[in-house]
Amino acid sequence: MNRLQTNLGKLDLASPLLVASGTFGTEYFDLIDQKLLGAYVTKTITPEAKTGNPPPRLFETEAGLLNSIGLQNPGLESFISDELPKLRSLLSIPLIVSFSASTLGDFCSMLESLEDQEGIAGYEVNVSCPNVEREGIAFGADPAILYKLVKRLSAITKRELTVKLSPNVTDIAAIAQAAVAGGASSLALINTFYGMAIDWRYGESRIPKFVCGYSGSGIKPVALALTYKVAQAVQVPLLAMGGIHTWQDALEFFYAGASAIAIGTATFSDPDTFAAIHQGLDAFLSDKDAILHTLIGTVH
């Protein structure tokens, strides 16, 4: 009996453990058994190749990791011709493609191109990027803009459509409701927080881009609170993430309302994290003679 069975909108998942976009690649399959994962989420793909940000791109803090990768990726065309065939042959779990663009039109044409491809189970829409048609405000920061985007995208696909929310907003519940009203069949949350580090000796930013993304154990309580808030505001399944390192961390997110969780920064501090969380959750549920599904959203 698989006590960890869950679903994310239209997808039935054999494991509730997913990978946070950008923190995982097939290189990890030497070290991590893909059967531990419910689905494989790609790094975010953009319409054109992106070279990414100048180094250094990383700085580890007392309780997490700052990154400034700049969405380095080969672009849609190369993804479809080179990476997708490899993923199709390697994966025995559902493939979720994360994508992003800087205009509404580009988002739609990307999705149309991806729809022509086989072997994709769903999409994660990364809406944390600036909208160049709206003075660079992120798509995911304004409910009206996000609603319009998701409405257009959901008309293009019947596959699973997850919208990944940014935590860097005033009211995440309103954003979540807008995405669901637009047709998102699940939500992923959260992307990285804004973060920064300065070398106090010289007054110099540790990262050339100054403000970067912050992930890891330091954001866990905040991510948990945002998961709870969103779970209270919408009915669709949530893929939650933010600083999860242990099976106990994972349980907290399920109680808060997550149907599945993703692991990101913790993979870097130990690729064995997936196995440990999977085993820990299974043992916990066996001990209680329970299944994961009955726990979801039952915080009291």
């Binding site: 070290l31 580890e60 990154n67």
Partner: protein, 246 residues
């Protein structure tokens, strides 16, 4: 094949206040090691606040034994150095590419500080079939390791000044066929300018998260774009690196 293992430290030698040599024994890990490759290391100590593995070059391989020369540069490396024989070390590796191996050549090796270990390993491998000179530079006496000519910034051992002075003198007398270097970026940059157009391979150091090529956190300006030190490197042809951006 990359492995994730937890192994006991079988030998541990403190060299001085900054450096220690740690040894582990494992056939899987040792068999594919080549000079230039590295491992992601982390002390099996739960209380560390910073949790990322640290990329450390292979220093020596003797059948199934792998040695690492580790310098204390922060919490992670300090915790590794503080391990004792019988304590456990987490390892991911072997990782990265390797230095190209040559035969019958005049070879110049230039290392600075903790850039020494991969070149010491390379020297061991190249020694039988090449004419080799290893120049090494350090800030002070504690950064000095066995080599042909040593330089220290403070003059506390060997010749005073930067190792790049040694490269200049060497080039006045000799014509190396190939140069290999590893050390701080300003040193590598200076060596690259001095030895051009002689083929020159450098091993770069970078802050890393995954170490296996997935996160692109360690990327450096090489060729037309940014390449990963962990997967595309750490060894790069010096003339492909956009030095002005480093």
């Amino acid at each position: 094949m990359v492995f994730r293992k937890t192994l006991p430290v079988i030998e541990h030698n403190i060299l001085n206040r900054d450096y220690a040599v740690l040894k582990v024994r494992d056939r899987d890990l040792a068999v594919d090691c080549r000079p230039g490759m590295f491992f992601e290391l982390k002390a099996a100590v739960e209380s560390q606040r910073r949790k990322l593995f640290k990329p450390i070059s292979v220093y020596a391989v003797d059948e199934e034994k792998i040695s690492f020369l580790v310098k204390e540069v922060g919490e992670g490396t300090q915790t590794i150095i503080d391990l004792r024989e019988g304590d456990y070390l987490h390892l991911i590796g072997p990782l990265g590419n390797a230095f190209p191996v040559v035969e019958g050549k005049s070879v110049l090796l230039v290392s600075g500080g903790v850039g020494y270990p991969p070149l010491a390993y390379l020297k061991e491998v190249l020694a039988a079939s090449n004419q080799i000179t290893l120049l090494h530079g350090g800030a002070c006496q504690s950064d000095v390791f066995p080599c042909d000519v040593v330089y220290t910034d403070d003059g506390s051992m060997g010749k005073p000044g930067f190792v790049t002075e040694g490269v200049k003198s060497f080039l006045e007398e000799e014509n190396p066929d190939i140069v290999y270097s590893c050390g701080p970026v300003p040193m590598l940059k200076a060596v690259a300018a001095l030895v051009r157009p002689v083929p020159h391979f450098v091993s770069l150091e970078a802050y890393m998260a995954c170490g296996v090529g997935v996160c692109y956190g360690c990327a450096v300006p090489v060729g037309e774009d940014y390449q990963r030190v962990c997967k595309d490197g750490p060894v790069f042809a010096a003339d492909l690196i956009r030095w002005e951006e480093l």
